[in-house]
């Protein structure tokens, strides 16, 4: 009997001795197990993170605050809205989030009449699925890349901010502004460990109706993912290459060397 009681008190959770590897990744490694299942502590941490990500989808973008940040960096702004009236409609009707509402179209047409001179670059910021990402990183990202492009003598349209906007809405803005190159910054779908991830989409000669095959994407721009500096290097490389090849998307392969150089940490699974 006494032996049985002893066994009853054995800790059921088996810890994993490779917890130190967490310094290389935010992935949920070395969580341990009870039987084959997730220990209670890890289970509840997951549920809390899921709750936070669910909430992040529904937080609205503070447009004035973002516009102020962009203006402070020295760029004028235009505030636009997609055809999706609110978040609920945005989530259920992607087609509406890809197009500007009529008022926004008119706004851009009027702008164009007043500024008929040709413009090379248009940068659009859309809230997408994470206003937190846009609020936190879009102004800095816009400033970093536009500064580089200005230094090359490229003309730049005002920065457009689209509420309830999806990726393709950028092409419509670019077309209406008559821009040759379109850069779209968008809040990516929030992950459990990354509610603030910014995506960048680039289109050469944007127009309504283009598919993803005509766009290049840079993903996971956030402090714990790709830095703004690294994203800027990559984007500028893509822009240079697209102007040389006169295309973007599948025809434009990212063969820059920058992202390889980022790999400071080596694969420890193999002998030196």
């Amino acid at each position: 009997m006494s032996e049985l009681k002893q066994t009853d008190r054995v800790k059921p959770v088996i810890d994993n001795p490779w917890q130190e590897l967490r310094r290389y990744t935010d992935a949920r490694i070395a969580q341990g197990r009870t039987g084959v299942s997730l220990p209670t502590k890890a289970l509840l941490a997951f549920q809390m993170d899921h709750a936070s990500a669910r909430d992040a989808v529904h937080v609205a973008l503070q447009i004035d605050a973002l516009a102020d940040q962009v203006k402070a960096a020295g760029y004028s702004t235009i505030e636009l809205h997609s055809r999706a009236a609110d978040r609920t409609e945005y989530l259920q009707r992607p087609d509406l989030g890809r197009r500007l509402d009529l008022r926004s179209v008119k706004q851009l047409q009027e702008y164009r009449q007043k500024h008929p001179e040709t413009v090379t670059v248009a940068l659009v910021i859309a809230d997408g699925l994470s206003s937190m990402a846009v609020q936190s990183h879009a102004a800095a990202m816009a400033d970093a890349v536009l500064t580089r492009l200005e230094n090359r003598g490229l003309s730049i349209a005002p920065v457009s901010i689209v509420s309830q906007g999806r990726v393709a809405v950028g092409d419509e803005v670019g077309e209406l502004l008559g821009a040759e190159l379109l850069i779209l910054l968008v809040g990516e779908r929030p992950g459990l460990s990354s509610p603030d991830s910014l995506g960048i989409y680039y289109t050469y000669q944007p127009q309504v109706g283009l598919t993803d095959a005509r766009r290049n994407c840079i993903s996971n721009v956030r402090p714990a993912g790709m830095s703004i500096d690294a994203a800027t290097e990559k984007l500028v490389w893509l822009i240079d290459e697209s102007m040389r090849l006169q295309c973007s998307g599948v025809g434009l392969k990212d063969q820059s060397v920058s992202s390889v150089a980022l790999n400071a940490n080596k694969n420890f699974l193999l002998p030196e």
Partner: protein, 460 residues
């Protein structure tokens, strides 16, 4: 009179053409509502299912939902149809076909022989009449086995793709997730990375890294870096070690064009990878992912419902004898599959349809944070999929993909379902796990870390 009709009570329901009938008969999902194709009422849906049940299977050989003249997927479906294989069911209606599939006549062997005689639209049609238990029962009779460095899809085998994604493809970060997965017995279907970018040099580094790890530890599995097919062809041409060639595919030519691919490109990739002869027990070299809603998302659905479009993608897949095919069922978001209920049904439909068409079907049992779904929904789908005999699922640390920002099944999840249903990994991989000390002969995990791996921790 053209079209199709059904009468229920006093009311007569009319459907213009085959694609309208299929769309109206589809169980409710948000993507068909978005496309304006869904039934306008529950009664219209039930009536469409009745009309569909009365339709002879032969109808699908005479009426295309998308004309072959303008769509190369339709052409492939028409040209690859095997009339001799079709003969045993050629006299049946869709409704009788359901009865036949569920009957004792439809054994595993018979279903295997029938497969080339079925078109995607026939299979999609019958699935629309089926309940969850029908989808599970018939799928569980289908065994589609494939091989490369191990043997996948046998009875009692449930495999996993170890998915060690990292937001910036950091080698140590990727290695940490690989180690975690191997220690939990994951990775027999493939060790497959979604790279953070399509950057050619970065993709090459990852391919070499996976090849080195698999070689060094003698792991009987295969590697894949899920970049665009053209990148992988280029890698093969430059002598980079490529085991499996991956590509996302869809069920219409226009949707595939939106992915920047066509059938010729896939054929070129398949041939190039086969010629490398890197497999040891087989030479299935392609890995495809699909998912309901992709054609609509690319505005390339031609008025065909999303589930029928999805099954057409399986006709593309089977043309290339793939090692692995999986639907990424909950990834696309609530615009196409609104909640857990819709995701679960879609996942089981995809698995059933793929299996009946002869594919080695797996599933990325997953959801995003903007969908009305949670871990409970995934547990239900995982359990049902495993009962249905799914070939493989994903395995990721804690179920949280920190690069793609969605939740899929974890290493723990795979062990749960293996334990409950008495399933094992691919035999060659199972043997390796025991040899190296990760598992005991019973299949249970060892309680201590094998020295081969614990010694690594001292160095890093």
């Amino acid at each position: 009179m053209t079209g199709y009709s059904a009468t229920a009570g006093q009311q007569r329901w009319q459907f213009t053409d085959l694609k309208e009938l299929l769309a109206k008969a589809t169980p409710l999902r948000s993507g068909d509502c978005l496309a304006g194709l869904a039934a306008s009422s529950a009664r219209q849906r039930a009536a469409a299912q009745m009309a569909l049940a009365d339709l002879p299977l032969k109808t699908f050989l005479n009426e295309q939902v998308i004309p072959a003249e303008t769509d190369e997927v339709s052409r492939l479906i028409v040209e690859s149809h095997d009339l001799i294989a079709f003969a045993p069911v050629s006299h049946l209606t869709v409704g009788d076909f359901r009865n036949w599939l569920l009957s004792d006549q439809a054994t595993s062997e018979i279903l295997k022989q029938l497969s080339p005689g079925l078109t995607p639209e026939m299979v999609a049609a019958v699935s629309k009449l089926m309940r969850i238990q029908d989808l599970i029962l018939v799928a569980s009779k289908c065994r589609n086995e494939t091989a490369f460095r191990n043997s996948l899809g046998g009875k009692g085998i449930l495999s996993t793709r170890l998915q060690p994604n990292h937001p910036v493809d950091d080698q140590a970060g990727v290695a940490a997730s690989i180690l975690d997965g191997l220690m939990y017995g994951s990775g027999d279907a493939v060790i497959g990375i979604n790279p953070a970018t399509d950057n050619y040099a970065a993709v090459t580094e990852l391919l070499k890294m996976l090849d080195d790890i698999i070689g060094h530890y003698g792991i009987p599995t295969q590697s894949c870096v899920l970049t665009h097919v053209t990148n992988q062809i280029e890698a093969i041409n430059r002598g980079v070690p490529v085991d499996l060639v991956f590509q996302s595919i869809a069920g219409t030519q226009a949707a595939n064009e939106s992915f920047g691919i066509n059938l010729a490109m896939l054929g070129e990739a398949n041939q190039a990878a086969r010629e490398l002869k890197r497999g040891s027990v087989g030479n299935n070299v392609m890995y495809f992912e699909t998912g309901q809603g992709s054609a609509l998302s690319a505005n390339a659905h031609h008025g065909v419902d999303q589930q029928t479009c999805e099954v057409r993608a399986y006709a593309v897949a089977r043309h290339f004898d793939p090692l692995l095919v999986n639907t990424v069922v909950g990834f696309i978001g609530p615009e196409y599959l609104y909640d857990g209920k819709q995701i679960i049904r879609a996942g089981l439909e995809d698995h059933f349809c793929g299996k009946l068409l002869g594919l080695p079907m797996g599933c990325d049992i997953c959801y995003t944070n903007h969908a009305e779904a949670d871990q409970d929904d995934m547990d239900m789908l995982l359990t049902q999929m495993a009962v249905a005999g799914i070939n493989f699922i994903m395995g990721i640390p804690g179920g949280d993909d920190i690069m793609l920002n969605y939740q899929t099944t974890s290493f723990h999840d795979a062990l749960y379902i293996r334990e409950v249903l008495g399933l094992r990994p691919a035999p060659e991989f199972d043997h390796w796990l025991q040899q190296i000390g990760i598992t005991q002969p019973s299949g249970r995990l060892s309680n201590t870390m094998p020295a081969t791996f614990s010694n690594l921790l001292k160095q890093c």
